[in-house]
């Protein structure tokens, strides 16, 4: 099911990461290393800081202290142009999909290509858009507006828009939230397919244990601003940590 991790290159290295919002200490010393080709799921309760963590990785939020290195370079100390270049190698799938609601599906997918690859021919653009739509199985939605799509379709188009730039790292923020169980399975399968087909390294933020179990090579859990030592799903599931046990006891797994 999962691609073998032949190359042990560290693509994301987080050390001593801290972030607070006024009196709320969201992250209190997060350490994590993610290797090339891995799918790492980060579990945690709502409001535990999971989304804050991946937004820091993508450079959307600046940490209070600690370091986040992506491809060996500290995201926090990058200049605007360097950060922009790094972001072209990182894909971010938002919880709400974040499709541009004034543009059709085709325009949403073409937008990052037109912005970043100025000398792309029209025929090449068309091929890339159609190829990624076929990968997510939504060719028929090409000319529809985001408001006309279902939740699952919006999620898949959001992933497609990220994939079209062929990123090396994919960040998924709650990829299955708000979706029915059948659609969740489709999204989980898509995440695995992306890893196999594109060779991406993925960080999956979720509180959906099924998603974590089916998509991730390694799983960790965020609790009181820190991460448990990443390991397989079974090891984390059987962890003695009382907060982790409580989290798992209140979830159903298929």
């Amino acid at each position: 099911m999962h691609q073998n991790i032949a190359d042990k290159e560290v693509v994301i290295s987080i050390q001593g990461l801290q972030k607070s919002f006024e009196e709320n200490h969201v992250l209190s010393g997060v350490d994590l290393e993610i290797y090339k080709g891995e799918n790492v799921a980060i579990l945690g309760r709502s409001g535990s800081g999971k989304s804050v963590l991946i937004k820091i990785i993508s450079g959307l939020i600046k940490p209070d202290s600690g370091s986040v290195k992506v491809f060996g370079k500290d995201i926090g100390s990058m200049g605007e142009n360097e950060l922009q270049a790094a972001r072209l190698r990182i894909g971010f799938s938002f919880q709400s999909s974040a499709l541009y609601d004034s543009m059709s599906v085709w325009e949403n997918l073409a937008f990052p290509l037109i912005r970043n690859k100025k000398d792309l021919k029209k025929s090449e653009l068309k091929n890339l858009v159609e190829s990624v739509l076929q990968d997510v199985g939504l060719m028929q939605t090409m000319h529809q507006m985001p408001s006309e799509l279902s939740g699952g379709q919006r999620k898949r188009i959001g992933i497609a828009r990220t994939l079209i730039m062929k990123p090396e790292i994919m960040l998924y923020d709650e990829p299955t939230s708000g979706l029915d169980p059948m659609t969740c399975i489709e999204i989980n399968d898509l995440i695995i397919k992306v890893q196999e087909q594109y060779g991406t390294t993925s960080v999956i933020i979720t509180h959906d244990l099924t998603c974590a179990k089916h998509t991730a090579n390694k799983v960790t859990m965020i609790n009181e601003g820190r991460l448990l030592r990443p390991d397989t799903f079974e090891v984390i599931f059987n962890a003695r940590n009382p907060e982790a046990k409580k989290f798992f006891d209140y979830n159903f797994i298929t």
Binding site: Q84, S96, Y100, P112, R115, R161
Partner: protein, 273 residues
């Protein structure tokens, strides 16, 4: 043990609370001013830097300019007619209705055209920009642009502020002409004045300074509307409530600043005159 209040303690506590509230409001006000300054500074840094978003700027000019024409046409036309009708009784008392074209042209070109156009634009364009950018902010579309390698500030904010700044002078000129047309129709209906006579009388009293000050006002108002709408929308928070607040604040702030600018520019122009 019950603590008995010392005389004046309640008053002291009340005044301390009042001081705290005033202090927080003052802090918020000055922080807001500083943030707007940084926003404007960022605009000027990016508007002259490569790459230029020509296509999106043209699109925004179309949205701001062309799409406002129907409303501006109606408002300008009615303003010209109403102002003429209201001015006629006072002038006819002195048998000076022949001065109507001059009076109207001075009022329309110096004050009414820029002000009416700006207020209409603040309501229509300002609220539209505030709501659109606010909606994009709270639904993470701006974040999505940022992580996909697009510079959202340049693509969304710089283009809109440039469009409002460039289009307001054109709209003001158009409003002035439409207002004068409305005025002419009313004067022709009542005094049977011919069009060449109307034009000759109307523009006899207008100087180049009047036209320049009107265009300058329009540039200032356009810039203000763009900055107010974009600042409120780009920094919107707290979901749909924040979007509504951003749209409302964009309009209110624009209108307030337009009147302040009107007062300042009029004082300045009168000093030159």
């Amino acid at each position: 043990m019950e603590i008995k209040p010392v005389a004046g303690m309640t008053a002291l506590y009340g005044s301390q609370k009042l001081k705290s509230v005033i202090s927080k409001s003052a802090d918020g006000f000055f922080i807001g001013i500083y943030n707007v300054y940084l926003f404007i500074k960022r605009f000027f840094r990016q508007v002259f830097s490569f790459p230029f978003e020509f296509k999106e700027t043209i699109n925004q000019c179309y949205q701001v300019g062309y799409k406002s024409l129907p409303l501006i046409s109606l408002t300008g036309f009615i303003t010209g007619i109403v102002f003429t009708k209201q001015s006629r009784p006072s002038l006819s008392q002195f048998g000076a209705t022949s001065w109507l074209p001059s009076l109207i042209s001075i009022a329309v070109i110096r004050a009414l055209a820029p002000l009416v156009t700006a207020l209409i634009a603040a309501g229509k364009v300002g609220s539209n920009i505030g709501a659109e950018l606010g909606s994009m902010r709270v639904t993470e579309q701006i974040d999505a642009m940022e992580v996909s390698g697009t510079k959202p500030f340049k693509y969304l904010v710089v283009t809109r502020i440039t469009a409002t700044t460039l289009m307001l002078p054109i709209l003001v000129t158009y409003t002035g002409l439409v207002g004068m047309l409305g005025s002419y129709l009313n004067i022709h209906q009542n005094e049977l004045t011919s069009f060449p006579a109307f034009i000759n009388s109307a523009f006899k009293t207008i100087s180049f300074l009047d036209i320049r000050s009107s265009i300058f006002k329009a540039l200032c108002y356009g810039f203000t509307i763009g900055v107010a709408g974009c600042y409120q929308g780009y920094n919107a928070r707290n979901g749909t409530k924040g979007v509504g607040r951003a749209a409302n604040a964009a309009v209110v702030l624009s209108m307030f600043l337009i009147f302040v600018e009107e007062m300042v520019i009029v004082q300045f122009v009168n000093t030159i005159r």
